[in-house]
């Protein structure tokens, strides 16, 4: 649609400093009355050049930067990166690591979706939801803190395994989540699903068809709300996801309400996976035994000469990764997160390309809001579920 600025239309600026844009997103809206004729997103306010910076860092030093892209799902980002590098190195990790990674990735999905639910409800006007969801989020933060020592930027996964073994009270903390979350999810649904205002604000808003979604390269809940059954965990399993039994919830109408239902159901499915992973957690080492790539355990470093040398060499020089390239896709809470790693045989990545799900999903904003009202823009931005740290990188 061509939007010609005339006497009838008005241009207004939404953002970049606007709480409902979930960061620093600026959208220039062309309005006719209250109807949107055109919406142009302007990005880059949070651009930090992570892809470029990664080219100057040793492989293991890139992991903390991946946390800071999508700060609501740090473990998923870690997972995508370490899987890509492990593929290039040809490392096979122990079963326990796979299970722990799956478990923690699903915990991360809960974290991302629950923050989404709270903030989305806040955008739409249901303020109390934020307080409830952040209360439950503390349980997840506790797990993060227990495993890695940090509440948000966990940096827990390592190339070849995990940073440390799982803590002693890990089971207890996960069981607490498994007990409390199903009840709370019911509460959320009781508060929202049949709420008249919630339905009015979300149903039929930001509708996309399956063809549009495929054309726009959308992934994640946004794509599944249109009825396309695509989940990387099912389509191209990684890190042992093929061993777990779970469903992929699908929508019909492709509107904001369907996305809400899908995310709620995904949280249930995540809990199901977490339970399976916890019950089936095998015994074993927490990282692969690959001298020269994986840091040796600390007691060995203090007692054995070889371990000390390896430790020193990995920290100072890093490890060389054979030349080659690989595109690793994982299902992050927001959609398909891809890491395209190019190695030239040195100890630093030659090129690291991130396929950020939020960035590509944000392209759908313009077709979603065209012809809608100003208030619906906020609903649409919320239902895409963007994190600007990842959009701009």
């Amino acid at each position: 649609m061509s939007a010609v600025a005339s006497e009838k239309t008005m241009t207004i600026n939404l953002g970049p400093q606007h709480p409902a844009t979930h960061g620093v997103l600026r959208v220039v809206l062309e309005l006719d009355g209250e109807t949107i004729i055109k919406a142009t997103p302007h990005l880059g306010y949070l651009h930090t050049g992570i892809e470029k910076t990664a080219e100057s860092k040793l492989y293991y030093k890139v992991i903390p930067m991946t946390d800071r892209m999508d700060y609501l799902s740090p473990m998923s980002n870690n997972l995508g990166f370490v899987l890509a590098v492990e593929k290039l190195l040809g490392i096979e990790v122990p079963e326990k690591v796979k299970f722990a990674r799956v478990l923690l990735s699903e915990i991360t999905r809960l974290n991302s979706h629950i923050v989404w639910l709270g903030t989305h409800a806040l955008d739409v006007g249901a303020m109390s939801m934020l307080l409830y969801t952040f209360r439950e989020r503390e349980l997840i933060m506790d797990v993060y803190e227990a495993v890695s020592g940090q509440r948000m930027m966990s940096t827990y996964f390592r190339i070849g395994g995990l940073a440390y073994d799982l803590p002693l009270d890990f089971d207890e903390k996960i069981k607490k989540i498994l007990k409390i979350f199903p009840e709370k999810l019911k509460d959320y649904e009781r508060l929202l699903s049949k709420n008249r205002i919630w339905i009015k604000r979300l149903t039929g808003i930001g509708t996309l068809t399956a063809e549009e979604a495929l054309d726009l390269s959308l992934t994640g809940p946004l794509l599944r709300s249109t009825g396309v059954n695509y989940d990387v965990r099912k389509a191209q399993p990684y890190s042992g996801y093929e061993k777990f039994d779970f469903d992929v919830p699908l929508g019909k109408n492709g509107d904001c309400y369907d996305r809400y239902l899908i995310r709620i159901e995904e949280m249930r499915q995540s809990l199901k996976i977490i339970k399976q992973a916890l019950d089936g957690m095998p015994e074993g080492p927490y990282c692969a035994d690959v001298p020269g790539v994986v840091l040796p355990p600390k007691p060995k470093v203090l007692t054995e000469m070889e371990a000390l040398i390896y430790h020193f060499k990995i920290i100072t020089e890093g490890f060389k990764v054979p030349a080659g390239s690989y595109y690793q896709a994982i299902e992050s809470p927001k959609g398909e997160l891809g890491f395209y790693m190019v190695s030239d045989g040195s100890a630093k990545p030659y090129r690291m390309r991130v396929r950020p799900p939020s960035f590509i999903n944000l392209q759908a904003l313009e077709p979603m809001v065209r012809g809608a009202l100003v208030a619906d823009v906020i609903t649409c931005i919320g239902s895409i579920d963007i994190v600007l740290g990842e959009v701009d990188r």
Partner: protein, 177 residues
């Protein structure tokens, strides 16, 4: 599965492409279980169209477009990697093409075929300065307005800082590289 062995579907795609484009498909490799097809850069639009419309291929979506700068390579300078995905066949294929070291590298845009390539191409343009011909709205996307360099090129230093203004009107601001 053997690393170098193609799956049935990948073989079909590769054969269909070779039949249609002949020598323009300059090779393929399957590494770590992933198929990459090397193609000539002038045919990228036709190949993308073929991948989308041909029944055997059926690649509905382009997942990612990535530009790589191979500054030390004598035959080429830039490599562009298109990641195509077919939902129907659950197949992922990397189409890789190279561009020579010229002042303004150009390649045809696939945005008219795959609207999802819009921002992806804008990002490659923004970061590497590769012009996508036929793109309806090729503006910079991540860097600020008025930015002139191409940050992902390998000759762009990591600690570069662009001076935004200078109090010295007579002298142009010096660039610290």
């Amino acid at each position: 599965m053997n690393r170098d062995e193609l799956t049935q579907k990948e073989k079909e795609v590769l054969d269909a492409l070779k039949e249609q484009f002949g020598d323009s498909i300059s090779g393929h490799e399957r590494t770590f279980g992933q198929l990459s097809i090397f193609v000539e850069n002038n045919l990228i639009f036709n190949i993308a169209q073929f991948l989308k419309d041909n029944e055997k291929c059926g690649f509905e979506t382009v997942s990612d477009i990535c530009g790589v700068d191979w500054i030390d390579c004598s035959e080429m300078r830039y490599e562009i990697v298109y990641v195509f995905y077919s939902f129907r066949n659950n197949t992922r294929v990397l189409i890789r093409t190279t561009l020579p070291d010229v002042n303004e590298p150009k390649i045809r845009s696939i945005q008219p075929l795959y609207p999802g390539a819009d921002w992806l191409e804008r990002e490659v343009y923004d970061m590497l300065g590769i012009v996508f011909e036929g793109h309806p709205d090729l503006r910079r996307i991540l860097t600020p307005e008025g930015f002139e360099d191409w940050p992902h090129r390998k000759d762009f230093p990591l600690t570069y800082e662009m001076p935004h203004f200078s109090h010295n009107k007579n002298k142009p601001p010096e660039i610290i590289k």
